[in-house]
Symmetry: C2
Subunit: 391 residues, 2 copies
Amino acid sequence: MYTAQLLPELQLRWEKMQTAIQAAGADALLISTNVNLYYASGRVFMGYIYLPASGAPYFFVKRPVGLNGERVVYIRKPEQIAEYLTEHGIAMPKTLFLETDSVSYNEYIRLTHIFSPEQVLNGTALIRTARTTKTDYELNLIRKSGQQHAALYRRVPSVYQEGMTDLEFSIEIERQARLLGSLGIFRVFGPTMEIFMGSVVSGENADTPSPYDFGLGGEGLDPSLPVGCNGSIIKPGMTVLVDMGGNFTGYMTDMSRTYSRGNIDDLALKAHQTALEIQETVIAAALPGTAAADLYRIGTEIAAKAGLEAYFMGHHQQAGFIGHGVGIEINEAPVIAPRSKDILKPGMVFALEPKFVIPHVGAVGVENTFIVTESGCEKVTPGREDIISLT
Amino acid sequence: MYTAQLLPELQLRWEKMQTAIQAAGADALLISTNVNLYYASGRVFMGYIYLPASGAPYFFVKRPVGLNGERVVYIRKPEQIAEYLTEHGIAMPKTLFLETDSVSYNEYIRLTHIFSPEQVLNGTALIRTARTTKTDYELNLIRKSGQQHAALYRRVPSVYQEGMTDLEFSIEIERQARLLGSLGIFRVFGPTMEIFMGSVVSGENADTPSPYDFGLGGEGLDPSLPVGCNGSIIKPGMTVLVDMGGNFTGYMTDMSRTYSRGNIDDLALKAHQTALEIQETVIAAALPGTAAADLYRIGTEIAAKAGLEAYFMGHHQQAGFIGHGVGIEINEAPVIAPRSKDILKPGMVFALEPKFVIPHVGAVGVENTFIVTESGCEKVTPGREDIISLT
């Protein structure tokens, strides 16, 4: 199931979740979603992890065959979890955490019939909180993704060719991402948001509203996936904002850079400078103890002072945040939004993405992923941040 | 929301669902998942569709801004759906279909608090059944995906270069898929299965069990996504099975072909011939009225008669099916499996994928997508089916 080397790391994660289980006076947490199975075991498998309030977890595996290790038990169906616990003299949980924001209603009913708990609590929220503050091991995976992500952006200008569409440009960037080790898939919390590897938008298309709470829109290629590039040619006077996911390990980074063809409008240049100023000012304030909502306020005030609030985080449709936590999923805590209750702590990781959408030109701005440390933020996605000319 | 041209098509789909709502004596169906919003409106948006037992549906939209049309209502939260219905003199539903296999427990609780229905029925199953038999419009989207999918496989041999890893080969195939119009994302029903654009496995790696109920395994590139290619070099004596998704429209096709380097083992050659025989025999039997379970039996009997059952649909780990419905998602009904209750009907679409995993060599076999018609099956993914030599 996991290597001896990984065990101390997993123990840190189990203890973090168990502290929360105990604080709630609960007996156990049952995990069944891929992202949380990965968090709690270091790998994805089909099955369940039963984490008691204290002691090591049990790994109930359906697939793949061949996993072994302490407390690894093969099952065909979740009913066998209760049978196993009973046979081994382990009491049924009276208060049980289930991933109630993620498991379907029918799965919830099945699981509660199996365990008949007196009370069920929100395990999704519990694990989300545990995952918000990363361990050193997790931070190193994020740094590794950031390094590859930065290497990808160094290659971006070289794959552009005159006359390309946004889609053609995106395809060559996607290929470079894969050659640099991108796993491809892009994990998003919640049922709604769907996106392929990332977003490349230019010109008018940047201002087409999408179904999602993104700063950037884009018509997309098909009504079944109405977001991102739409196959239009990148023309002189346009910017191209490249926002490609950094899924080079199980832990993602987020990073965007702005490119341009020929001379672009002064308003776009001013907006880009303002985005860089927002980044600098927000990051200078992003110390442990700072409220994420205050960071949002700082960012939006700079945009307003520059007279650019109509373009900030979108134009026809505006996003309600300027940054978001990243980790196994692209939208973790902390959320840098007006009503966020998150307070920065060392070990948190977030992407800050001040962006502006300028009608007829495209989007400008910058996005980087930062680790919160005692003394300030560590940028894990370095690379030039001016508007880079495509020739 | 939708064009006038699309309305008659959407009406067919609404009527199909409404027949089932009425048959259950229910009042309405509330749709909130992307795949089913797409099915019922022709596009993805963030929000809900409220489909009464008769009459046109209401589209409650959160994002994007700017959608318009009959019965399009902008909301910020689902509680406003009930307010709208009340304000417009529409009775609250007493029996309501919700997507209980897909919406989370917490979302279910929120929705039932809003509508206070006396009874909730399984809307996931209702829509899944409606989606199983495709309309002519949907079949044309599937044919279009099939054409592009077939064009992709014609290009596959040309992107291979000697010394490539399975990953490098996959990356060039992915790029060609995108250039041919692949949307990239790969929609799977259920919470468990995750895969990038498809699977390219060769040699020993084909026999590494994955967490999923796939005929093919593969170690993958990372424990966070343990399936598919693992970066090993494709060597003489190995086969390469390419199983790349055909997501060229909102409706997918599924297609696999086998490639080889140099001379391969007689057992692999025999198994490939047996896969082609299984395809021919199963498809000849796949007429309206045939039970999917019978097709499974026919396929497995041929594999057994050839003495190849130990390698059929996997070796270290075997899949429990030989085919699956396709449509908006890759795993729809009918399921070609031993305990399937599905009976073939005209308009159903399924992929048949007889495959064998030969230790040390790799996987062999074939996969095509078929439309069930009155007179037999229409193959929508044509192209040569012998083992194609990579040079």
